[in-house]
Symmetry: C2
Amino acid sequence: MTHMDLNTPASLETIQASTRVLAFDIFGTVVDWHGSIVREMQTLYPSVDANAFALAWRAGYVPAMARVQSGELGWTRIDELHRMILDDLLPQFGLTHLNEAERVHLNRVWHRLDAWPDSVAGLLRLKKKFTICTLSNGNLGLLTHMAKHAGLPWDCVLSAEVFRAYKPDPATYLGVANVFDLQPQEIMLCAAHHDDLAGARACGLRTAYIERPLEFGASRVKDVSPQAGNDLHAHDLNGLADLLGC
Amino acid sequence: MTHMDLNTPASLETIQASTRVLAFDIFGTVVDWHGSIVREMQTLYPSVDANAFALAWRAGYVPAMARVQSGELGWTRIDELHRMILDDLLPQFGLTHLNEAERVHLNRVWHRLDAWPDSVAGLLRLKKKFTICTLSNGNLGLLTHMAKHAGLPWDCVLSAEVFRAYKPDPATYLGVANVFDLQPQEIMLCAAHHDDLAGARACGLRTAYIERPLEFGASRVKDVSPQAGNDLHAHDLNGLADLLGC
């Protein structure tokens, strides 16, 4: 179920010998945001179309970050962006009656996302050979709470919040290399999103694509066929551990 | 072996009910820098007075940070400060012959410090009830490597490097509250140094003093008697877990 991309720029031997740090995208790559939000909505607000709600909330994410990146908003953490999107979204789902405490609780669902079934086992294998860290646009508090909730065994939690820039800003990818005093090619970004991997590759990092066909749920299955440029292509995090000899 | 300070400003019940995050000073509080450096020097350079060497290296730390705090040096990580101090120190210990690779290796001893015997067990107990993080002047890479070396189970690695300020700058203590979106009194700084605890207290954090009488080795035993102002006074991290009901 795991295989290398045919256009791999670096040999597996080179990658295994030179990679020191694996930096992971989180939403969709390590945790199942769609399934987690659907399950929580079905419990809390069963009359709402949970699939549509989860997709709409996530769809607001890139435009909200773009308002920060353009300078329209000053530096804003994802917790605050999630809340702005949520408040905008509640009317169309008949949830305007939610009070402040209910909105705060619902917004924190992003701190309570469940891992994909392979994530913890795969990370534990990878952690024996590499330093494993997050590199997410999620804020430090969110990522820390999520790690406690889902049992994710990070060596270090890194975030856009540390670098004051959102991916795909080069400051994030190069920031990881700087933190560990390494060359960019000694860092590998592991992500389920080609645009994120392209940003990392442009900075000289190695890249591993992780298939997550159900990231957006069963109603919108993702094309996870290999694309040129990525160093590795893995079915899941156990597959990545296989490829990296862990 | 553990007891509360007689001048405790907050009751133990209040502290147990309201504390959410324990932030730990690292050098001396969680890891034994003196003993670790002595052991490594005795192995690498047995002719050197390892105790004097360790004490001299550490003594250069506060003056080096003061050069950053005064603006004489721009933002500089502890790894670089340790190296500057080391280079200054080698002549008086007859080690000017060390080449670049040997100096790099020796400087990284700060990434390989051993934990005090109680640290890992105490942290594992505390982690079940609280979020546990570092709050150290050590840089993120150093703290991450140390955690892997010593098995320290942090939920999150925070550092002066994140806040671009060294303790006791208020930006560091208040930075932890900001990261977790909490009030200062919901954070407790745990440290073996009264000046660090005083800085945290001035920002509204709770404080726990950890006795480490042998921080500077057997030749310079530290007075660890209770001082007024700290919320808790513990013999070690297991004692802190006892006090906090973990």
